[in-house]
Structure formats: structure tokens, C-alpha cells
């Protein structure tokens, strides 16, 4: 199994994610630079959190148009599993692999705290090790995490079971439509989420609720 982590100028969760993947897979992932136009064939591609290109223009918009993303989109369309976390989720919406957009938080504040999440869909390639409806705790750290899409798109997400995670009742940190914390494509192979599973993947970090995202995808792809 080949895993790759894409590194943009301004990414800051790339090494944390790499540690989680290595722990789950037993092998370090390839770290791929944004300016590369070649990406070795990858079974798993992770777009990490951070502030790619300084969040210029719109969060994720410059990264979505970087040379490496043409490769990521091409491989995603051929069946690679893709996980976008936080800024990575913003990149996935900007490049069109996932619908909607992450807008500025409703309260205008950067929110950095643990959130309680409900695993709404445990049939994605990443969430099979969670129970359906399980409540987990994973931290968020973002200023633009307010998921927005038009009513038709929201209905389609619900009908196609494409809402992967929601914030538990009363714990929506950003005003996201339908309390959406993470979504997937209809195949369940492409997942984007605002919370950071890599920041809660070891007991030393306060909990291990995020770890099963990584062990789950490795199990699914092995």
C-alpha cells in the first residue's frame, strides 16, 4: 500500500498526519510537494491541515490550482482514497472533488477546542472502525469551517448518505449547515472533515478517538 501526504507552503499538520499513517501502516508515507506535477500512484492521499498559500484569495483556492492537485484529482477519479482535513477539506471543495464551501465561522472567531462528533456514516473507507451513530471527541482549529451548500446539494448529501460526521447536538462551533463536520463522495472513498483526527490519535494527546480513521483506511486498503 502506498500513502502520500501532500505538502503545500503553509501546511502545518502534514507531519502529524504522517506519524498517524506510519503508526497504522508500519511504513512512512511519501511527502509530496505542491509544485510537483508527478505523484507516484497512491492508494491513499491525505491533504493535511494548515494555511496553504497563506489562505490567499479564499482558503484552499490557490492550493486547489497547484500542479500536484491535477494529479490528486486524476488519481481520485481512478479510485484512490482521499482524506482532506481542515484546510485539506477546503482544498477538496475548491477543486470540486467534494461539493459546497467552507465559509467563515458564524461567530467570526477562530475556534480551537474539542468537539463532540457523531459518526453519521460508518460505511466510508475511513470510518468502518466506528459504530454507526457513535459519539467521538475530536478537536477543531479553524476560522473558516462553516460548511455551506445550497438546499439541493444538502438534500443530495442526505439522500446519498454523504454526511460522514456531524457535530453533536449543541456543539456546532461554526454555524455549519445541518451541523456538518465532514462529508464524503457517494463512493465513500473521498472524505473531507474540519476536525483533526490526527490531533487525538494517541493517549498522550488526550484521547485516541481519531486513531481509527487511520487504522480504518489502512485495513480497508490492505
Amino acid at each position: 500500500m502506498q500513502a502520500s501526504v501532500i505538502v503545500f507552503p503553509g501546511s502545518n499538520c502534514d507531519r502529524d498526519v504522517a506519524v498517524c499513517i506510519e503508526a497504522a501502516m508500519g511504513k512512512a508515507p511519501l511527502m509530496a510537494w505542491h509544485g510537483d506535477s508527478d505523484l507516484p500512484k497512491s492508494d491513499l492521499i491525505v491533504l493535511p491541515g494548515g494555511f496553504s498559500y497563506g489562505d490567499y484569495l479564499r482558503c484552499g483556492s490557490m492550493a486547489a490550482n497547484s500542479p500536484i492537485m491535477r494529479e490528486v484529482v486524476a488519481q481520485a477519479k481512478k479510485g484512490a482514497a482521499v482524506l482532506g482535513i481542515c484546510n485539506g477539506f477546503q482544498v477538496l471543495t475548491e477543486c470540486g472533488l467534494l461539493p459546497g464551501v467552507l465559509m467563515q465561522n458564524k461567530g467570526l472567531n477562530f475556534v480551537c477546542r474539542n468537539t463532540r462528533l457523531t459518526v453519521t456514516n460508518n460505511k466510508t473507507a475511513f470510518t468502518a472502525q466506528y459504530k454507526a451513530g457513535e459519539e467521538i471527541t475530536v478537536p477543531v482549529a479553524h476560522n473558516e469551517g462553516n460548511y455551506f451548500a445550497d438546499d439541493d446539494t444538502l438534500k443530495r448529501l442526505q439522500d446519498d448518505d454523504c454526511i460522514a460526521f456531524t457535530y453533536a447536538a449543541g456543539d456546532n462551533p461554526n454555524g455549519a449547515c445541518l451541523d456538518i463536520a465532514g462529508i464524503c463522495d457517494p463512493s465513500g472513498r473521498i472524505v473531507g472533515m474540519m476536525p483533526h483526527p490526527e490531533r487525538r490519535a494517541e493517549a498522550a494527546l488526550g484521547g485516541e478517538d481519531g486513531k481509527r480513521m487511520f487504522s480504518g483506511i489502512v485495513e480497508a486498503l490492505s
Binding site: 461539493p99 459546497g100 467563515q104 465561522n105 467570526l108 455551506f148 451548500a149
Partner: protein
């Protein structure tokens, strides 16, 4: 040729920054402000001198990068236009 592009949030899309500005104007004592919406203004200098070709190129730029049409509208103004 110089172009100015106005990017604004679509109607119905929440604009928390606009709302904060609106509240601040109220606190400063400015009455009669019904609503504030915040957007972006982008200036582009083009080597193209044909207005039609310039507009077509700018539209493509807006669709591909400058605006996110899920939540934003854009208006292109070429220099010299009213």
C-alpha cells in the same frame, strides 16, 4: 486594458463580517444603515486590447479561480465603461 472585478456574496448567504460592520456603524451612532455586505475588489491589468476578448478571458478567470460561484457573484468592469 484595466479591469475591475467586484466579487460579492450571493443573496441569502450569511455574511458575518458585513453583520459585524453593520453593528459597529450602529454603535458609532450612524443611523439608517439597513444592511452591510462585504465583498472583494480585484484589479487586473491585461495586455489584451479587444474588450470582447478581455471580457471572455476575465469571465474564465472568475469561474476558474477568482470567485467561488457556490457562494459568490462577480461583476466585471472594463476601464472606460460607464
Amino acid at each position: 486594458m484595466k479591469a475591475t472585478i467586484h466579487i460579492t456574496l450571493k443573496n441569502g448567504v450569511l455574511d458575518p463580517q458585513g453583520k459585524a460592520i453593520e453593528n459597529a456603524l450602529g454603535q458609532l451612532g450612524f443611523g439608517g444603515v439597513d444592511e452591510v455586505r462585504q465583498g472583494k475588489l480585484i484589479e487586473v491589468n491585461l495586455s489584451e486590447s479587444d474588450p470582447q476578448k478581455a471580457e471572455a478571458a476575465l469571465t474564465d478567470m472568475c469561474e476558474k479561480l477568482l470567485a467561488n460561484t457556490v457562494i459568490e457573484n462577480y461583476q466585471i468592469h472594463l476601464d472606460g465603461e460607464a
